[in-house]
Structure formats: structure tokens, C-alpha cells
Symmetry: C2
Subunit: 446 residues, 2 copies
């Protein structure tokens, strides 16, 4: 990477670091400057995938020939002097809950096996227009539900990668691609990021169109961006919203508020200690925020809304298909069918109330700081852990970032979660960059 | 009224027309020019009310002393040279589904007898700030439901005034006040306007805050404005949104589309003929619009949403209170309780679909033209008629105007309903002014 920074050319780059390990920013800049070709980067990524995929199982669909062809076309495009998008030539992964017109789109469900939509999801179109090269579809839990997908945690194959954007998180952390697209209704980007040690950005609700993706509950349907640094998250976000492409340093330390959230009872002692140590070492005062008592209901509201929408979405379902679904999906549908219209309206009213209360939290704080998960990645046999730490923020549509700055007792990463005000995505990324820098200076690893 | 226009002073005004019969625009202008006092106008209104109220029963609350005091203060305010609002000194009525801090606010329900809110509804605050003098609260059906209120049709006391803003429509038509505020979830302004012969404007959804009023379903909760001319509707609307205060003439005839709507089967032959005659006499071509078949479901969606929200709103209701409710309210609650969360989400999805389809209707048309009611005012013993003619537009949040331009076989008025695009309130008022002028020229009375 230094080689690139020193602008010494392709030979040095190859010697110092494998191309698939370079940051997205570095790759894009090097391709733009003709120090690298999209083809060479793609080959490095495909090579890494070939070596690791049998163990990690991050992909539900891969077509190496298609990927190579895309890289070649990208190089020809550039050679022809045509304008380049901000992600030109960069291999990326896309969670298989997004429709792709040239790849199967199965939402992790046997019930959709072989499904080939005719149109790309809007978010996929954004990536194409930005010049990114979609290598394949990353593994997901069935319809993004809370159930293990085939993926293993690349840092320890006996551990869970979390759910449900597990494939995207694993692919990024394992250097198969530098960026991967996920989604989040409850914890689907934040939890895998925490378990696998990825950097993740779940933007504000409404950041980009979710058309053509597995939207279960509109008010909770977010994209999730996964990368290996805050700077790469910004580059990735910039493909959707140019204003986010560059993150300047904060001039003053941010006003951070430490918030426990309704899932705090689940937090393991080592995770809590690691966060305490990080906070204590910061060159900023961190106030403790007592969330309004209404937040105690947040998890119930999240599950209720989700179940109601599952019951609606799968209301005319053949019994055989129902029985083919994973247990959490079946359970959600059954629970949702038991909800009345009045129950649903009460859930909506509570969600509205929480949204209003959440907005008020940011009068005195630039961001809230909390954990992304209750602790380290669970062992596979223990199931995929709890998503409670991010559910309230998903429910309120607030932007969050997960930074792999902590380590648990087994040396596995634990994410620090920053939460920003609705629409304050740019500032949140700045806070995330500041926190990452500040933390590296005050080494908090045990 | 000519007297005022000729600016000959108070004496002439009084001789030519009773003050309570003057248009709102004339009254406001005369008060502003000191040719009339608020006190004299209020006295004329109170006198009319005293004479007619025993038969018409338009008011659920009246405090003549409070009204006189308000008029006196308005005159003193003006005498002190303080700035005058657009409705300064004008007596108005407010439907008793709006909270008023100085009058009972019972929503037409024995269950709320004697209720005195501490705060004014936002719409009431707008009227106060505009300088209007609220004479009292006009009668409404219980919680605005489809049930007769005590009011009689002022044009024929043996006939229904429609529901639910019956008191506001009757008070305006009977010259008790020049303007009155109503509401509309389904047909509550349009139907009484048609039955009583009032001019009515139901603005786009979101025209003004509904806080402090009886909101049953947010996406269908509108204010309704009642007056005796399009010009007065514009003055009234201008108190909420200045841009609507003046209605200029259209330079070209509008592109009108005749739409039947899902309630058309109920329309009586005389109403249909009257509308045909009006349309034939217009100096404009009127295309027939075939509504997409999804509109056949509009009434079912309206009732489903309403019932679901009733079940939610009255979910923790003492049995005794439930039994005190009018039959349609009881039935709505019971029907709503039978709806599942999935049913509700399907209704919402259908409503969203209808909204999208409705928007497309205005690519080729400036306004749709149809009937406001299926026919003349029903006889009291027949119940309050059907609101089906306006339900699809209420569901879609589109602005509508009802103009008493037709007469049925018994000589009672029937409203012509114009429907505009969402947010196109100003243009709709211009079309309404054009239609009223065009129709007067081509007399369509039988």
C-alpha cells in the first residue's frame, strides 16, 4: 500500500501486498492512474476466493468467467478514454437479497431456487453506474431472517459470522473483495461486521432506494455497506451519495454519549470491559445517556412489526413452502398471523414515538457510542448471537457505523457501534474516522 | 352587497342585505375599511341563529356572550391600530371535532360530555391568528361516523343535512355564519355540502395540521372548508395558506375528465341527467375517464382502514361506553377487531396502489368532474345518504371542491364535485371558479 502511496508503479505494489488485500480507495486510484488493471485486481480476488471459499462459504453464486469478462470490459472502457465512475474496475460482492438481472437472486431461500429477475435492484444499478464489478452474490440467511447461513467466520471457521449479511462481511474480511453490499432490518449488517471484524456503515433510512431487494418492513429496510476501513466505507457510500465520498478530519473531539440500549443485559463482561477501556482512553469526555424508558419496548416493537409484515407477505403460502422455511421464518409468520390490526397500529404508534424520542437524543451528542454485539462471535453450534444491540437504531432509521476496535477474551473482534442522528450520515462517518484514529493511538487491545 | 361594492357606507349595506347574508369577503373588507364593525356583524349572525337554531339545530355549543365579547375585542383591537388578520372580525363556526380551549369539545359523543381540552387544535389556532371569531361549535355525528346528528337540512327541515359536518354546512347555508370549518375522512364535508347546497373545499392531505382534532386515520384526515361561494372558500383557505387567498380567472378552459367512481351505481337518474346537462353546456370538451379497475376496491379499503383504526383507538374501552356508541361506531369497532395485522397491511398496500394510480389520472386532466352525492338530500327517516362519491378521493388525499350547481327532481341542490391532483389546491380552486362562472352562464337548473 505504501508502494502505491509512493507512486512507484505496479511491480512494487505486487511485491508489497497482494492486490486483493489493497484498500478499495487504493485500487480505484491505481486503476484510474493506470498503475493497475481491473483484470489484474479481479484475478487476485478470484484467486483468493478459489483458495478460501471451500472453507468460508461466503458466496451463494459466483461466475468467474463473467467476472473476468467484466474486468476486461472495464479495462477496454478505460482504454477508450470513456469517463470512469468512482468505483471503476473494483470487484465487489452483493448480498443475495438484491435482484440482479444476470445472476440468480434467491434471497437465501430454497423456495426461490433458480429465480432470475429481469431487472437489477436500484442499489445494484448504482454500483454498475459507479463502475463497480459485481463478482457474485454473497450468502444470506433465508429472507434475511435470524438463522445461520452456510458461511463460516473467516477469522475462526468454528465460529459464526453472524446474520444475515454474513457472506458480505466474511468476503470483505477475508480479502475476497474490498467492498460488499448488505442489508439491515434489525442487525443484519452490524452483527456480522462485529463478529467478523469488518467496518460497516448502515446509513439513515431512505439513503438509497430499496426497490428490487428483500424489503420486509419499509421503515426498517436499509442497505448496509461493508469494508475494511472507514475511508473505504466513505468511498463506497460516495457511490450512492457523492457528498459522503471524502471524510475530513474533525476539528474538535465529538460529543459522544454512551448508551446501553435494551439489549445490554446480554453483554459479556469482556466486551463491556473492552468498551470501557476504549472510552477511558479517548481524548474526549463521554457522557452516559439514559435512554427513555420507552426504549425498553424497542425489541418487542421490532419483532412485532417484522412478524406482522411476514404474515402479510406470506399470507397466501402453500403449506409445503411454509414447511420448507427455516424455523425463525416459520415462527415469525405464525406469530404475525396472531396479531390483530389494532396490535399492528399500536406497534406503529410505538415506533413513531421511539423515532421522536431518538431524535431528541442528538441535541447534546454528535453520536452515541455502544457495542455492536453483546460479545465475540459465537461458536457455530451456539447459533448466530443476538442482534439486540442494533435493533433500536434500525427501528428509528438512524445511521450507524460498526468499527472492529475491540477484542474479546478469545481475541476475536467486537464492534464499537456509533449511532448518528437521522440524515447525519456524513458527520457520523467523520466521527467514525476520528474514533478509529483516536483508538489506534491509545491501543486498547488486551 | 352592491352597496358595499359601491362603497356607500354602512347605512346602505344594512338596507340592501342583512349583514349575516353578506359574503365573508365583503364582511372582512367592510370591517377593514371601517364601514362595518365586527360587533354589528356578530349581532346579525346571533340574531339569525336565535331565530333559526330551534329548527335547524346546527350548533352543539353556543355562547352568545362570549361571541359578543370577542367581537367587541376585535373592534377595540382594530381601533388601537393593531395589524388585522385576513379574517379579522368575521364570525365563523367550528365543527365540534376540533379541540377548543374555551368551549366544550365533545366530538358529538355522550362519552365525551363536558370535555374541555386545555389546548386549541392547530386549525383553531390558525383561525384565531387570522382574526376570525369562533361563534360556537357546530354539530357533528359521533366521532364523525356515519350516523345522523341532530341537525336538519335548512333548505327542507324534513330532510337530512348529510353527515358528518352537518352543523357546519347547515350554519353556512342558513346564513348563520359565512364560513365554517369541517373535517373529512370519507365524505364528511362533501356530502353535507351537496345536501345543504354549500360550497365546500376539502384540500389535499397535509394542507394543515390536524393536531387536536378527531383523527381516525391519518392518511384520510382532512379539514373541510364550507362557504357560500368559491371566492369565500379561497378567502378561507388563504387563512391557512396565503397563496390560496385570491383565485384568478383561468385563461383557457380547463381539461376536465368525467369520472364515475365506484359509487356510481347509487346515482339517481335526475342527478345523472343534471350533471349531463351541465357538462353538455360547458364551453369545454369533457373526456370520459375510465378509472382503473383497482378503484372498484376503494370503498372496501376506506372502510377497512377506518374500522382497523377504530378498533385500535377504542381497544381499551369499557363495555358500558361501547354500548353507548352509535350503531355505526359499534359496528366499525367490531369489524375492525376481526381484522388481522396482515389484513391491515394489505389494505395499506391497496391504498398506496390507489394513490399511485390516482396521481396518473392528472396527466391528461386538470381536474376530474363527478357528483358530490348520489342525489338530493335524503328524507330524515331514510338516513344520511351515501358518501361513496367522495371516498376514493379522500383515500388518495386529493383536493376536492363541491359546488351546488345542480338541482334534483325536488328542487334540492346536488353538488358537482371537482377533484384535483395532490397538492394542486390552488389550481383546483381556479377550475372551480371557472366552472361556477361557466355554469351560471349556461343555466342548468331544470
Amino acid at each position: 500500500m505504501n508502494a502505491i502511496a509512493d507512486n512507484q508503479g505496479l511491480a512494487l505494489v505486487s511485491n508489497s501486498k497482494r492486490l486483493n488485500e489493497l484498500s478499495a480507495r487504493t485500487i480505484v486510484a491505481a486503476i484510474r492512474d493506470r498503475r493497475l488493471t481491473a483484470t489484474s485486481v479481479m484475478e487476485a480476488c478470484l484467486e483468493r476466493i478459489a483458495v478460501r471459499e471451500p472453507q468460508v462459504k461466503a458466496w451463494s453464486f459466483l461466475d468467474a468467467d463473467l467476472a473476468r469478462k467484466r474486468a476486461r470490459v472495464a479495462d477496454e472502457w478505460q482504454a477508450a478514454g470513456l469517463p470512469l465512475g468512482p468505483l471503476h474496475g473494483l470487484p465487489v460482492g452483493v448480498k443475495d437479497v438484491f435482484d440482479t438481472s444476470d445472476m440468480p437472486s434467491e434471497y437465501g431461500s430454497a423456495s426461490l431456487r433458480g429465480r432470475r429477475p429481469t431487472e437489477d435492484a436500484d442499489a445494484v444499478s448504482v454500483l454498475h453506474r459507479a463502475g463497480a464489478l459485481i463478482v457474485g452474490k454473497t450468502s444470506t440467511s433465508e429472507f434475511g431472517m435470524y438463522h445461520p447461513s452456510p458461511t463460516h467466520n473467516p477469522l475462526d471457521l468454528s465460529r459464526s459470522p453472524g446474520v444475515s449479511s454474513a457472506g458480505s462481511a466474511a468476503a470483505v474480511v477475508d480479502h475476497m473483495v474490498a467492498l460488499a453490499l448488505g442489508t439491515q432490518h434489525t442487525a443484519s449488517t452490524t452483527l456480522p461486521a462485529s463478529f467478523c471484524g469488518a467496518f460497516a456503515f448502515k446509513p439513515s433510512l431512505g439513503f438509497t432506494s430499496m426497490r428490487g431487494s428483500n424489503v420486509l418492513v419499509s421503515r426498517m429496510a436499509h442497505v448496509g455497506l461493508l469494508a475494511r476501513s472507514v475511508d473505504d466505507l466513505a468511498l463506497f457510500a460516495g457511490a450512492f451519495d457523492r457528498r459522503l465520498a471524502e471524510v475530513e478530519t474533525l476539528r474538535h473531539p465529538p460529543r459522544l454519549g454512551f448508551a446501553r440500549g435494551p439489549g445490554w443485559d446480554l453483554v459479556s463482561p469482556d466486551a463491556r470491559q473492552a468498551l470501557d477501556r476504549l472510552v477511558d482512553g479517548l481524548p474526549a469526555t463521554v457522557a452516559t445517556v439514559d435512554l427513555p424508558c420507552e426504549f425498553d419496548m424497542a425489541l418487542e416493537v421490532v419483532h412485532g412489526l417484522l412478524n406482522a409484515h411476514l404474515a402479510y407477505r406470506f399470507s397466501a403460502l402453500p403449506e409445503e413452502t411454509f414447511r420448507s422455511f427455516c424455523p425463525p421464518l416459520q415462527e415469525g409468520i405464525v406469530a404475525g398471523r396472531a396479531l390483530s390490526a389494532a396490535n399492528y397500529l399500536e406497534l406503529e404508534a410505538m415506533a413513531d414515538r421511539l423515532n421522536a424520542l431518538a431524535a431528541a437524543l442528538f441535541c447534546d451528542h454528535d453520536a452515541l457510542i455502544t457495542l455492536s454485539a453483546p460479545g465475540e462471535a459465537t461458536r457455530l453450534e451456539q447459533g448466530p448471537g443476538s442482534g439486540a444491540m442494533s435493533m433500536p437504531w434500525s427501528l428509528c432509521g438512524l445511521p450507524t457505523v460498526s468499527l472492529p476496535l475491540l477484542r474479546g477474551m478469545n481475541g476475536m473482534p467486537i464492534g464499537v457501534q456509533l449511532v448518528g442522528r437521522q440524515g447525519g450520515d456524513r458527520n457520523l462517518l467523520r466521527v467514525a474516522a476520528w474514533l478509529t484514529d483516536a483508538t489506534t493511538l491509545n491501543d486498547v487491545l488486551p
